[in-house]
């Protein structure tokens, strides 16, 4: 059994990569991708911490919930991006400035 630290390192790396993707990428789809990465990092953490209480599956259950919610979120997010793209002919948030002062 590998120590819990390795999982946490991986999860931290994934989370950081997600944040970097969210911040750096210009395209909304890539941003959503970054968010998925961050969610998966969280899932990894949940499952990893479940090691500390054997016999219970709370962490796994929670991870499953998160995956379901992530799917929903991805669906809704992609739908919005699609609509935005249809309307503005672009999916880059920086170029959508109708609400700006």
């Amino acid at each position: 059994m590998a120590p819990i630290d390795h999982f946490l390192y991986l999860s931290a790396f994934l989370f950081s990569a997600g944040i970097v993707v969210v911040i750096v990428k210009r395209n909304a789809i890539m941003v959503l991708l970054g968010i998925e990465l961050m969610l998966n990092a969280a899932n990894l953490n949940l499952v990893a911490f479940n090691i500390l209480q054997p016999g219970l599956f709370t962490g796994h259950m929670f991870a499953l919930f998160v995956i379901v919610v992530a799917v929903c979120e991805a669906a809704v997010g992609l739908a919005i991006v699609l609509r935005v793209y249809q309307h503005y002919q672009t999916s880059i948030p920086d170029e959508i400035q109708d609400l700006k002062e």
Binding site: V22, I23, V31, P93, Q97, L99, K100, E101
Partner: protein
């Protein structure tokens, strides 16, 4: 009585209010209102009782001093009332003919009504202050009427001159009023005339008031405005500058006669006789009809003032009464001559000065009615027996004689001078009549002259008849008739010798005049012609120094005062520049700095909220990391 007083004012107001379109209405209303006023005055005159009638009108009060605007009618003012209203009415009627076609008719009749109103105010007022107010008002309306033809520069200058000369006299009047107020404490003539003890400064006060009289009644040395005032319309000259306004001074003197101390009266008599002699001599050589009449008016006024100075105020009033009628008649007939000649000139397009007697002559055939009136009133002026002028002059001579026998020897000089004046009066009157109506026609030969219209002829005839003896006395050689009885109840000193001397004196003068002027020769003496260079002297004494002073002060003004002002201005401009710099860089700078700071701060904080979601996320995570580091360490 109030009606008599106020109707001319009503006429004035109507004339002012009517528009030019209805200007013809004024020529009806103005004489009509004057007629009613005249009838009222006659009623007042004939119902006159021995006791003065007073109409008490409270005016205003300062503290405990109550000023009243009382109106009073006594014998003197009743006679004056009749003179003013009758002459004013006749002049109004005459003016409807004389001023026909004048575009400023409304203003003319308005001022004529206003003048009559103010003149009646002087006559009726029982308060020196009120008299002064109306005194100024007649001066004002005289100014307006002299300058009625304001397109003529001469008329405007004459109006200004009359106004200024009157103002000089009125300054004296005002000072006199102050002295009276300070020493007697009242302006009420009733109280002033009744008090018996002499208040201090009384001589000075009365002499100061006499200054006002000198101005208004054109006495020496302020008489030169009156001949110039002849630039005004002739009816105005008749009403204001012969019959009424200039007589206001004489009236005022006789009204406050009781206030005059013997010393003051001597001065009055001297001034009067100097005026009479100087202006009679000037009248002798003038060539303008109206100027001759003007100088003769001054001379007659001088005689009246002399009579007052000699204590014969009632004789002066008698002469004022007769003089008003015959002098108004003379002026109006002269005006008629000028009027018809002007019209004839316009028809034939010839030009010569119709007022110059050297151009006239032989008009008796063409203008019989005017000649008749002129001759009658001229005889009255000359003092020929059976005319009113003879009677009133007789009264004056008797008064002077009385006065001279009671006093020192210099008074005889005055008496002799008065006789001399009456002699000269005959000379210039004869000259005037002779040059205008007798002899051969000169420049008027080619003109088609017709008599003036009826509205002008009628007043002249009425006034001419009024210059006969019977309007003042039944007996033509005794001035002590019914009118004089009103002025001076009781038997008056009179001796027939005086009348005889006077009559023969006048006849002698008439003979001399005939010899002198029969040939139509014109004598000219330069010093008389220029009225003893009085205007020139004024110019030398006042105008030149005043102008010199003015240019001197002007130079001081330019060099010194302007210099100081300019350096002050430069200093201010420099200071302003400094302040401007300070304002721009320090005050505005600090404000701008604050603004720029907040602007920079704003744009800095704004940059966090540029609408870029990723930036928001970046900053929130950045903040979170900072927070975590701070928490953990």
């Amino acid at each position: 009585m109030l009606m008599v007083f106020l109707l001319p004012l009503v006429s004035c107001v109507i004339s002012f209010l009517l528009t030019d379109r209805y200007a013809w209405v004024i020529t009806l209303t103005a004489p009509l209102l004057q007629l009613i006023s005249m009838i009222g005055a006659l009623i007042v005159f004939f119902s006159l009782s021995a006791e003065p009638y007073t109409l008490a009108l409270p005016w205003f009060h300062i503290g405990e001093f109550i000023f009243s605007a009382n109106l009073q009618i006594n014998a003197v003012s009743a006679i004056m009332l009749v003179v003013v209203t009758v002459v004013s009415f006749l002049v109004h009627v005459y003016s409807t003919g004389y001023m026909a076609g004048d575009e400023n008719n409304r203003r003319y009749f308005a001022m004529l009504g206003f003048f009559t109103f103010s003149m009646l105010g002087i006559v009726l007022a029982d308060n020196l202050l009120l008299i002064f107010v109306f005194w100024e008002l007649v001066g004002f309306s005289s100014y307006m009427l002299i300058g009625h033809w304001n397109q003529k520069p001469a008329a405007v200058n004459a109006a200004r001159k009359a106004f200024i000369f009157n103002r000089i006299g009125d300054a004296g009047f005002l000072i006199g009023l102050m002295i009276i107020w300070a020493n007697a404490g009242t302006f009420e003539l009733r109280n002033l005339l009744l008090q018996t003890e002499v208040f201090s400064w009384q001589t000075s006060a009365t002499l100061c008031i006499f200054c006002g009289v000198i101005g208004k009644s054109a006495q020496f040395p302020l008489f030169t405005w009156l001949p110039d005032a002849m630039e005004g319309p002739t009816p105005v000259s008749a009403l204001i500058h012969a019959a009424t306004m200039v007589a206001a001074g004489v009236f005022l003197l006789s009204r406050i006669f009781a206030l005059y101390t013997p010393e003051a009266l001597d001065v009055v008599a001297l001034i009067g006789i100097i005026t009479a002699v100087l202006s009679a001599l000037s009248a002798l050589v003038q060539t303008d009809i109206k100027k001759i009449l003007a100088y003769s008016t001054i001379s007659q006024l001088g005689l009246m003032v002399t009579a007052i100075g000699a204590g014969a105020a009632d004789a002066a009033m008698l002469h004022l009464f007769t003089h008003a009628f015959f002098k108004a008649c003379l002026f109006l007939s002269a005006g008629a001559v000028i009027h018809v000649l002007h019209q004839a000139q316009q028809q034939t397009h010839t030009h010569f000065d119709v007022q110059d007697i050297r151009n006239l002559g032989g008009l008796r055939k063409k203008l019989p009615a005017t000649f008749f009136a002129f001759a009658l009133s001229g005889s009255a002026l000359a003092g020929i027996p059976f005319f009113s002028g003879f009677v009133s002059k007789d009264a004056i001579f008797t008064g002077l004689w009385n006065w001279a026998t009671m006093g020192t020897s210099w008074r005889w000089i005055v008496v002799v001078s008065a006789f001399l004046v009456s002699f000269i009066t005959v000379l210039y009157t004869f000259r005037l009549v002779w040059f205008m109506f007798m002899g051969e026609e000169k420049s008027t030969q080619a003109l088609d002259v017709t008599e003036a219209p009826l509205v002008m002829r009628l007043p002249i005839i009425i006034l001419a008849v009024a210059s006969l003896w019977f309007i003042i006395t039944i007996n033509p050689v005794d001035f002590n008739g019914w009118l004089f009885q009103i002025l001076h109840p009781g038997k008056y000193f009179h001796f027939n010798l005086m009348a005889a001397v006077s009559a023969s004196w006048v006849l002698l003068a008439l003979g001399t005049a005939h010899r002198m002027y029969r040939t139509g020769k014109n004598f000219n003496v330069k010093i008389f012609q220029r009225a003893f260079y009085l205007d020139f002297i004024y110019q030398l004494l006042f105008e030149k120094p005043v102008l010199a002073l003015a240019s001197f002060t002007d130079r001081i003004d330019r060099h010194w005062i302007d210099g100081v002002l300019h350096s002050g201005v430069y200093a201010q401009v420099t200071l302003a520049h400094i302040i401007g710099w300070f304002d721009k860089w320090i005050i505005d700078g600090s404000v701008n700095a604050v603004a720029a700071t907040s602007n920079g701060l704003g744009s800095f904080t704004r940059s966090f909220q540029g609408g870029k979601i990723q930036l928001y996320i970046f900053w929130s995570i950045f903040g979170l990391i900072i927070f975590l580091i701070w928490m953990l360490l």
